[in-house]
Symmetry: C2
Subunit: 338 residues, 2 copies
Amino acid sequence: MGVVVSLDEGKKGEASVKPLVDLTAADMARVNELILSKAGSDVEMIPEIANHLISSGGKRLRPMITLAAARMFGYSGDGHIKLATSVEFMHTATLLHDDVVDESDMRRGKQTARMVWGNQASVLVGDFLLGQAFRMMVEVGSLKALDILATAASVIAEGEVWQLAAAKNLETTEDEYLAVIKAKTAALFSAAAEVGPVIAQAGRAEQAALRSYGTNLGLAFQLIDDALDYGGNARDLGKNTGDDFREGKVTLPVILSYRRGTAAERAFWKTAIEDGVNDDAALDKAMGLMTRYNAIGETISRARHFGNIAADALAPLGDTPQRDAMLEVIDFCISRVN
Amino acid sequence: MGVVVSLDEGKKGEASVKPLVDLTAADMARVNELILSKAGSDVEMIPEIANHLISSGGKRLRPMITLAAARMFGYSGDGHIKLATSVEFMHTATLLHDDVVDESDMRRGKQTARMVWGNQASVLVGDFLLGQAFRMMVEVGSLKALDILATAASVIAEGEVWQLAAAKNLETTEDEYLAVIKAKTAALFSAAAEVGPVIAQAGRAEQAALRSYGTNLGLAFQLIDDALDYGGNARDLGKNTGDDFREGKVTLPVILSYRRGTAAERAFWKTAIEDGVNDDAALDKAMGLMTRYNAIGETISRARHFGNIAADALAPLGDTPQRDAMLEVIDFCISRVN
């Protein structure tokens, strides 16, 4: 059995995505070829925009999970290549639309597509990639996999609208926030993992295990992202500390600080998040309050909680290198924060 | 055999969509129920926006075509209800995104969703409806129908990007323009028609006939729309005459006037379309030039050309009320211009 890195606080920072990268390297080379080919078009703006995002240094965690989840159950066809590519296209389409919705200027240290080519092109190229994703899924021919991914597409969008409707609402509870990120982030991780056993024709228990792994890994991933936004540094992250704050996003660190704060502190949060008084002084004060109430530490604890559920979901499965690599990814996602 | 209205110029204005409406009334009642149910969400903004568009008086030509195209070949299941609803959702999603891309204020005499709820919500609710459309298609379980509709989704988006990239380019040829509208408008009509024989398990010839009908009807429909934008009146159309002009859209009436014009007139078009000098005086001048070169009349002739191809596509099919109603719809689409 490979290294299963403990999720205990004492062992942070040792986990790596490398075992997963190595295990899926041959398949990922084919995914990368398919990405380039299916993002191709005589309309030059399409491959330009698609490649801007696709080549901008994402880890491609989601397609690697699809590949490993299929191989783990002995899948030997090539449908997993197309499904993994579809998953990455769905993710890319979501990023394009998100950047328009959030009016973001930077992503992973580069200008967003909407800053280079405009909001209009970002919306339409996102639509194109989503269409291409569905075409590839149809080629694979598994109605079950199609159902899982189509449902995810719909759930993700619903989660995004929900988040938009609840934007700047400091009364958002932790439960409500979790429901939003379950839809907007975890649903794609969940679908990416679940379609593996589905095309490998594994059993229902295996399918449920991978779905649970994906969902909980996605929740942990998003919560760490939320923590990083207040704790990382711009060069490492490719985004500036406090972006979420400046955009008035109510993420878990804010929710915890707000709920645990005094009346005066809650008034500060209202001014900062709802009225948009979010200059550097306000950000400093916000980060001070987060420290006072251990909001970042608690957000990371919550992430670790979901990480543990994800690990237990895979626990009863047979001992495979894929399982071990996927277990290590949980801790890798959480250790990003250190 | 029902009334097949001649497409000759002499018989304009007699055709009606009523036979198609009557034939599909019972099925459309089920489509309307499914629309309401599948546009439902606990996130209130979703049904609000969806219903704003869905209830705003569109003719629902595309879903009626799907229903008639399935019944025409004796289809007796209920997959056509779901496919017709999917087609309408794809159309609605496209409208939501189009209005954002075109920065449109009005559609069918009402404020656009983006004016009421914002661009962000319009993008995301469009994504949600597209996801719901794919889920319904998956429920029907026909991989062939899924392939046709997923391909259409991708082609439509590609056409829109193409149009955006070629925006305000007066050197666009008629051929290039036709390729754009074939993708952005005709592809959905084509798919809407083609999935009928597909789920009814009709033959390849029947499938090809309906695809050709849809494509050519869609081309005619868009060209008449282009003509109407310079010739209708605001109250009837729910949009203002000259909207395309003010948005700098290079449609066929502009292409023909530009290509047939003098050097001085071409300079006027450059100023109007490329430099955005498009006030009422410029619009008057543009419409004067269109009259001089019969650009509206020729656009309508082009539409009639495609209408004739659509009619001939259905000609060899058996004599059914659906076929007759679909033939009459061609002339109805063209007669809107009178």
